[in-house]
């Protein structure tokens, strides 16, 4: 899996050849047949992306250019969260959101960064975290990026709130507070990108 992951940006044929090279490269005599089947959903993903509204474009860095509001990069540490919250609060205010929505966006970003600090690389991630805020029409787009190992998205689920216990609320809060929450395809050099969006309903 690590091999496939390292070559996840290659075309399918290249990825298969990488596996074949790995199998053949050991120098051992090959005695059994081996069939490798690769399924690439890249074309389907492009089709899906074409059908989606502009604000869900998968390329990170939509914050470049005219829609850019703010960008901050900090070490993955709890004592930097207050600084990020201040930037997010002011950027969201600049985008014209009301106080309730501003507080909601601040909390959602904070909880997302907490997930990086607490869970990335098994809780040992000590790299950088980036938050990029941009505006496209009346949609606020927030990309939260790290350079940690790939997140297993299937394991990120909100817990049952009827089970009252300490912890595990972050994912639920993020989903409640934002209009959309999606992991984007990783950057070329790895890492994770979580995209949050929220519509400014004052501008309807």
């Amino acid at each position: 899996m690590a091999l496939l992951d390292r070559h996840r940006l290659d075309e399918l044929g290249g990825r298969l050849q990488t596996v074949i090279d790995c199998v053949e490269g050991g120098g051992a005599t090959l005695r059994d047949d081996l069939t490798i089947l690769g399924v690439d959903d890249r074309a389907a993903r492009q089709t899906r992306a074409a059908k989606e509204p502009d604000h869900t474009e998968t390329r990170p860095g939509a914050s470049d250019g005219a829609g850019m509001i703010a960008h901050i990069r900090v070490p993955s540490a709890p004592d930097r969260l207050k600084l990020v919250r201040a930037v997010v609060e002011n950027a969201t205010r600049l985008a014209g959101f009301n106080d309730v929505d501003i507080n909601d966006v601040v909390l959602a970003v904070d909880e997302s960064l907490q997930n990086v600090i607490r869970h990335a690389d098994g809780g040992h991630y000590d790299g950088l975290m980036e938050v990029s805020l941009s505006r496209k029409g009346d949609i606020l787009i927030i990309d939260i990026m790290d350079e940690a190992g790939p997140v297993d998205v299937s394991k990120i689920k909100p817990r049952d709130l009827d089970d009252v216990r300490p912890g595990g609320l972050g994912t639920h809060l993020i989903n409640e507070l934002m209009d959309s929450v999606d992991f984007l395809p990783a950057k070329e050099h790895g890492g994770n990108i979580l995209r949050l969006t929220k519509k400014n309903r004052l501008k309807q």
Binding site: P78, V106, D110, E111, V164, P166, G167, L169, L173, L177
Partner: protein, 110 residues
């Protein structure tokens, strides 16, 4: 985050001020568990809390459950607007006993 802890009317009052976030919640948790360990009813004053996140809420839930196991009263009083919003989103506003004022909190604990 700053906190104050005091005995009043036979109960323990814990008041937090500022941001209860991932950086400060370990301290909040320690303070709350120490308050519960005193064995009296506990009132947690959240009137001056500017910001609370899921880690701060987790500290409240843990200390509340410990108090309940020991049949101690535990109420949140004068919950700030921001803190109430988070409790509502987490659907904990129906789990905690929440009083509008500290005097109502003392009445609730009895």
């Amino acid at each position: 985050m700053e906190h104050e802890i005091r005995d009043e009317n036979g109960a323990t009052v814990v008041a937090f001020r500022g941001d209860v976030d991932l950086q400060s919640s370990p301290e909040a948790r320690k303070v709350l568990l120490e308050a519960v360990a005193r064995g009296t009813g506990v009132l947690v004053d959240l009137s001056a809390v500017d910001y609370i996140d899921s880690s701060g809420v987790a500290s409240l839930v843990e200390s509340f459950q410990k108090a309940r196991k020991q049949d101690q009263g535990y109420v949140l009083v004068a919950v700030s607007e921001g803190a109430r919003r988070v409790l509502e989103l987490a659907r904990l506003d129906k789990v905690f006993t929440i009083c509008g004022t500290i005097s109502q909190g003392f009445e609730e604990i009895g």
